[in-house]
Amino acid sequence: MTSFLTRRRFLSTTAGLAGAATLGGLGRPARASGELTVGFIYVGPRDDYGYNQAHAEGAAVVKAMEGVTVIEEENVAETQDVQQTMESMINFDGATLLFPTSFGYFDPHILKVAPNNPDVRFEHCGGLWSAGMPANVGSYFGYIGMGQYLNGIAAGHATKSKKIGFVAAKPIPQVLLNINSFLLGARSVDPTIECQVIFTGEWSMAVKEAEATNALADAGADVITCHVDGPKVVMETAAARDCFICGYHANQSVLAPEKYLTGAEWNWATVYTDMVKKTMAGEPIDNFVRGGLAEGFIKMSPLGPAVSDAARAQFEDTKARIMSGGFAVINGPMKDNAGNVVATEGQAFEESDVALESMGYLVEGVIGSTS
């Protein structure tokens, strides 16, 4: 029964290819001149409700563009596997624009493969491209911390225990910024709110994520968000513990519509269509691309039914201020949770400040440590 249904799914997804499933598929797919083959590489499954799904949704938009062939590979490890996958896409499929999307692909893998393939453009998500790195490599990322700040506002209004929770994978800058932003958003509602963080140590480990979520609920947290590759388990477990949830990476509202407040989502379609258009037109792409809500790199899930009018007002107001530019989450004076000063009076780190991308602290009010 299983195989029957799955078989049908495969047949339907490959309807167009069904007739072409011959030896003809062996050679490089025929391309008209001016056409472009774009490769997307994911570290996990494409439909994980999270990191990989967000990229795959972007890839799906590219797929619909005229004259573009999209090739994809899932579950590619951050080892020499990804080097071989990139080479294979270049050698066998003639891909000239690659999006290896996992952070761990950048150094050393992309940096090693790129110089051998000067005619191919490598665009990497999250990496810090700097002068001296190969010119055919670029990095892009979004100011998702702003999304977590907005999550925090929704959470700050929803929490009754004044304690919110964060399930995090590893204490790295991208994650720390999200945790800090989530708490600071909540503290913009009520400065007594605390945020408990639990690190699972893994990007994708279902049982640990569920245990961490339960531990947060046991510790009294009543609004929970996360930064792991696939948030499905955290969202479902938290909702089952009667906690409100804020999404991350993609829209998870369907998993618990009543409990879902909002979510910080990627909107990679903006970035990908832009880069593909530029490549097809022969225009250069910046090696270092960043953007936020205003640029359409990130977006917020529609507010859920549990969001109060007061929360909605503050959410929309803050969102408008972020969109108008210059908004700073880390705004001095501010201390980390060990008592060290991280921003002095008058010092503010705007969303575009590259210093945020090497954040190594948790702000005051976060219960947790970075090592």
Binding site: T22, G25, L26, E72, E87, S88
Partner: protein, 369 residues
């Protein structure tokens, strides 16, 4: 493996030679037939899904073995598998089932990454062998401890090595994100990058690092040790029957600890090459499952160090073709795992036919006729 060894010695040198050849051919023929049977079963599986098996196998051949790039791809995937398979095959000669090579790989890698920070100014000719040696040593201690626990405390080596692998991965994560973390490794916590002079390069003319050559040499040396030395002979006796070995006065404890440690040393070397030739620093990517794939390679090779080489190549070739199959046929990435499952069940089950399709028996029948 000398399959013809138990055949009675025929009368003439020519027939002896023929029988020897026939014995070897049998040993080869059977797995190849089983491989084809596995392919056939998988072809039916594909047909049921409405996919063309001919296209599939052509793609596997092309992406695994069909072009120079494919060979680069396959060979570079094979290197860590050779080492990790040795970590299983060597102790297996004593009848020990060690399944925790992954632990020795990650700790070997951490040792290489951590120690390299201290050796930054050293000349490469001293530092590189020292790094490799220390990585091997950590692996040897880790898996050797499994042998020691078995001999001195009677702890089952299979469960101990598995538990130690999980502990090793936790240690590795703790070290690369804590004490050994390079503060500049922002979003991918790692040890400091190895100095350029300490990096292991590629084999001339290939995109495959030197670890492959070292691994092949290690396989050959292990084969010599097991098949051609008295130590290896003693190990095989002890593997067959511990009591008999003890009665014979064989140093069973030394053999058990020595062979487990030797296996662990190879896994440690795998970690060393991952760090010095692939990643350039030690980080969580070290735990990528090579240790577990190595178990499969070793069992398929019937723990024969020489047979490990073709088996690892076959497996690596399958994995090398996974991407192209995914992209061209719109099959999920697990397709190759399913194929491997069918093929390996088929090969392992075919061992029951050993001696049934016997060329040697046919030779002997002609003799008696």
């Amino acid at each position: 493996m000398a399959v013809g060894a138990d055949i009675p010695a025929p009368a003439t040198p020519l027939r002896a030679w023929l029988t020897g050849i026939a014995g070897r051919a049998e040993g080869l023929l059977l797995p190849v037939l089983a491989l084809l049977a596995g392919f056939a079963v998988f072809a039916v599986f594909l047909l049921l899904l409405g996919k063309n098996p001919a296209t599939f196998y052509a793609l596997v051949y092309k992406a695994g073995f069909g072009t120079a790039f494919s060979w680069n791809n396959t060979l570079s995937r094979a290197a860590p598998l050779l080492f990790s398979a040795l970590c299983v095959a060597v102790p297996a000669r004593l009848g020990l089932v060690v399944i925790g090579g992954e632990g020795a790989i990650v700790l070997g890698g951490v040792m290489a990454g951590g120690l390299a920070m201290l050796l930054a100014g050293w000349p490469a000719i001293l530092a590189m062998p020292l790094l490799a040696l220390m990585a091997a040593l950590v692996g040897a201690i880790w898996i050797g401890a499994v042998g020691a626990l078995r001999q001195w405390r009677g702890v089952n080596e299979t469960i101990a090595s598995l538990l130690l692998a999980y502990i090793a991965i936790a240690l590795m994560n703790h070290l690369v994100e804590g004490p050994l973390r390079d503060p500049a490794s922002l979003n991918k916590p790692s040890t400091a990058p190895l100095a350029e002079s300490l990096r292991v390069g590629d084999l001339p003319g290939w995109n495959v690092h030197w670890g492959l050559a070292v691994a092949v040499v290690c396989c050959i040396l292990c084969w010599v040790l097991i098949e051609r030395t008295t130590t290896g002979f003693g190990a095989r006796i002890a593997g067959g029957n511990v009591r008999a070995a003890q009665v014979q006065g064989l140093p069973v404890t030394r053999l058990v600890v020595g062979f487990t440690a030797l296996g662990g040393a190879f896994a440690g070397l795998a970690g060393y090459f991952e760090v010095s030739a692939v990643h350039g620093s030690a980080n969580a990517s070290l735990a990528s499952g090579y240790g577990y794939t190595g178990i499969l390679v070793a069992f398929l090779a019937r723990h024969n160090p020489l047979a490990i080489i073709p088996v690892a190549l076959l497996l690596a070739g399958f994995e090398a073709s996974s991407g192209l199959v995914q992209r061209r046929m719109d099959l999920p990435d697990a397709t190759m795992t399913v194929l491997q499952g069918f093929v390996f069940v088929s090969i392992l089950a075919s061992e029951t036919l050993t001696g049934r399709i016997s060329l040697t028996a046919w030779l002997n029948r002609k003799d008696t006729a």
